[in-house]
């Protein structure tokens, strides 16, 4: 790992988040360096998705700091963070059923596309080239997840498991700096999950910060270099898959519970 060349990645320091009296995140500090696939695991309600929402700017933590390559993200909106290269998938698929599969993926390029309102309404040459280029990139991203043949199918007519992969394509299409994947294997069968592992390994790069929240322990252990474990909003363990597996506290609160 060459952090000097590729920045510090995404760093969260002492994040606290509460909804009313419910403490969702309690002093969570985690670093997500580039070139490393980081897993974030924990039982249901551990605060994983809430933590994702803090990283992407959809939630504002009560206290704590988040920075990307040394740049503080406090007060930076979710939309601005998207422009800075933070991309994500959602725990519950968040695509538009009215759009085609390719158009849903094209939306992943929204923050980086330059065409304006005049291009949207008038037949200007710049608009054609922008549309062609974004469609071309969307088809490329769909090819990565094996779905280019569904490009023109309305998303409303596509199976839920497949839509997870469309979301993955949307998150990847803009070549993000940070890729946050919230349960990417939920709803996939074992064969599709195996393919997903291959795809994630394929897109991992020295520059990319990749974070995966997942309940599928096989997938997490296979692809992650580092795993962080959350329980009731508190970070209880961090380390390599082997270290986390050997941690008795993790076995007690999470892996042990899964065995029951």
């Amino acid at each position: 790992m060459d952090m000097a060349n590729h920045g510090a990645g995404l760093v969260a320091k002492e994040i606290k988040l509460a909804f009313g009296g419910l403490q969702v995140l309690n002093n969570v500090s985690v670093s997500f360096p580039p070139g490393v696939i980081t897993g974030l695991i924990g039982p249901n309600g551990a605060g994983k998705t809430s933590f994702f929402n803090c990283l992407t700017g959809l939630y504002r933590p009560n206290s704590g700091d988040i920075s990307l390559d040394g740049r503080a993200l406090k007060g930076v909106s979710a939309s601005r963070r998207a422009r800075l290269g933070i991309s994500r998938t959602f725990q519950h698929v968040a695509l538009s059923p009215e759009l085609s599969v390719a158009e849903n993926v094209q939306f992943g390029l929204h923050a980086s596309r330059k065409s304006g309102l005049a291009d949207a309404l008038l037949p200007l040459p710049s608009a054609w080239s922008d549309r062609e280029e974004s469609r071309h990139k969307a088809i490329e991203a769909l090819s990565l997840v094996g779905l280019s043949h569904l490009a023109d199918v309305p998303a409303g007519g596509v199976a839920p498991g497949t839509l997870r992969l469309v979301e993955l394509a949307r998150a990847m299409v803009g070549r993000p700096r940070v890729l946050l994947l919230d349960e990417p294997a939920a709803g996939l069968n074992s064969s599709e999950t195996k393919d997903l592992v291959q795809t994630l390994r394929q897109i991992a790069s020295r520059e990319l910060v990749m974070v995966v929240v997942e309940h599928d322990m096989d997938l997490i252990m296979q692809i992650c270099d580092v795993i962080n474990v959350l329980n009731f909003g508190t970070l209880i363990a961090a380390g390599t898959p082997a270290e986390v597996q050997a941690n008795p506290l993790v076995a007690e609160v999470y892996l042990g519970a899964a065995d029951d």
Binding site: F90, L95, L99, L117, A120, V153, T162, E192, D195
Partner: protein, 331 residues
């Protein structure tokens, strides 16, 4: 990732696109048919169809809000009045040519849309509808307040003097047809644009749209600027097509009628559907002019039938067909 794994889980619907091709054919046939109307139809029908086309633009302005924001506006009469009075005042008071008036009316509509959307950008559902209602209710009062400029109850006449030597009725018809064509073409382009895609994502998943660079406030501003711009444009065309503007033409009820038009064409922004919506709300009052309040009753009944049919009856039928197909498939 292998294509084979996924080809088992989903695939294109057979004959996908056939409906689209038929709709496009219908749209082209309609536009060709409309092109010859002034040469084959009596002047009364040319006039009615010109008004229908202008109203269809108003219907489209309502459909844009419903389709792209999932919200209902019942204050469109405000933006339509802005466009209509812009053309009328500029022509009658300053002698400004119609095309300049249209451009100004459209721009002013956009600006008014933004001015409305900014304070109400965090409203949604019934609260937003009530805010648009407030906007719609104030139009006649405003027009009657500035009588010197607006002409009061009698309003202002708009001369169809775009092309010298061409009969006014023909000018009015082709201006309405041209205006309608411009709007439907622009909306067809908009649907596949970066912003059309963003709005349709935001409509279903506001948080996802925000996470990819389209916050809800921008959605509201864009939808209302677009809708109000179309309404302003439609108002300008309506003023030209009907030769007159007066407060009675822009009451709150005209917004309700536009909503009726939008519902009967299923909020579609496709040419044939929007034209049907405009025709429905223009022709019905003409055909039933001797029966007074029967028009409102028919409007109400039609709304109920369309809503009931497309939200309850058809989904039930589709579900029943799917269940039957599933049973046959397993059998």
């Amino acid at each position: 990732m292998s294509e084979s794994t996924l080809s088992r889980t989903a695939g294109p619907t057979p004959n996908a696109g056939l409906g689209d091709r038929l709709t496009r054919l219908l749209d082209v046939a309609l536009l060709l048919l409309l092109l010859v109307v002034p040469w084959v139809a009596p002047s009364f029908w040319t006039y009615i169809l010109a008004l229908s086309l202008a109203n269809a633009i108003g219907v489209l302005s309502v459909s844009v809000v419903i389709r792209y924001a999932g919200e209902v506006s019942i204050g469109q009469n405000f933006f339509i009045a802005v466009g209509a009075y812009a053309v009328a005042i500029l022509q009658a008071r300053l002698g400004v040519p119609f095309p300049v008036g249209v451009a100004f009316g459209t721009l002013l509509g956009c600006v008014m849309g933004l001015a409305f959307a900014w304070p109400s950008r965090k409203l949604s559902g019934v609260y937003l509808s009530v805010a648009t209602l407030a906007l719609g209710l104030c139009v006649p009062e405003l027009l009657l307040h500035w009588t010197d400029i607006t002409g009061g109850f009698e309003g202002i006449n708009v001369k169809p003097n775009l092309v010298a030597g061409v009969p006014g009725g023909i000018q009015q018809f082709y201006v309405a047809l041209g205006g309608f064509a411009i709007v439907v073409i622009a909306l067809a382009r908009f649907r596949h644009s970066r912003y059309g895609i963003a709005l349709l994502t935001a409509r279903h998943h506001a948080k996802a749209a925000e996470a990819f660079g389209m916050p809800l406030a921008s959605v509201r501003l864009l939808v209302f600027a677009l809708s109000a711009g179309i309404a302003g444009f439609g108002g300008s065309i309506l003023a030209f097509a009907s030769s007159t503007v007066s407060p009675n033409s822009f009451t709150f009820w005209s917004s309700v009628y536009l909503l009726v038009g939008s519902v009967v064409c299923l909020y579609s922004t496709k040419p044939s559907a929007a034209f049907f919506g405009g025709l429905f709300i223009t022709l019905l009052p003409q055909l039933l002019s001797d029966y007074g309040e029967l028009v409102e009753i028919i409007y109400g009944f039609t709304l109920f039938v369309v809503i009931y049919l497309f939200n309850i009856v058809l989904p039930h039928l589709q579900a029943a067909i799917r269940r039957k197909q599933a049973r046959n498939g397993h059998g």
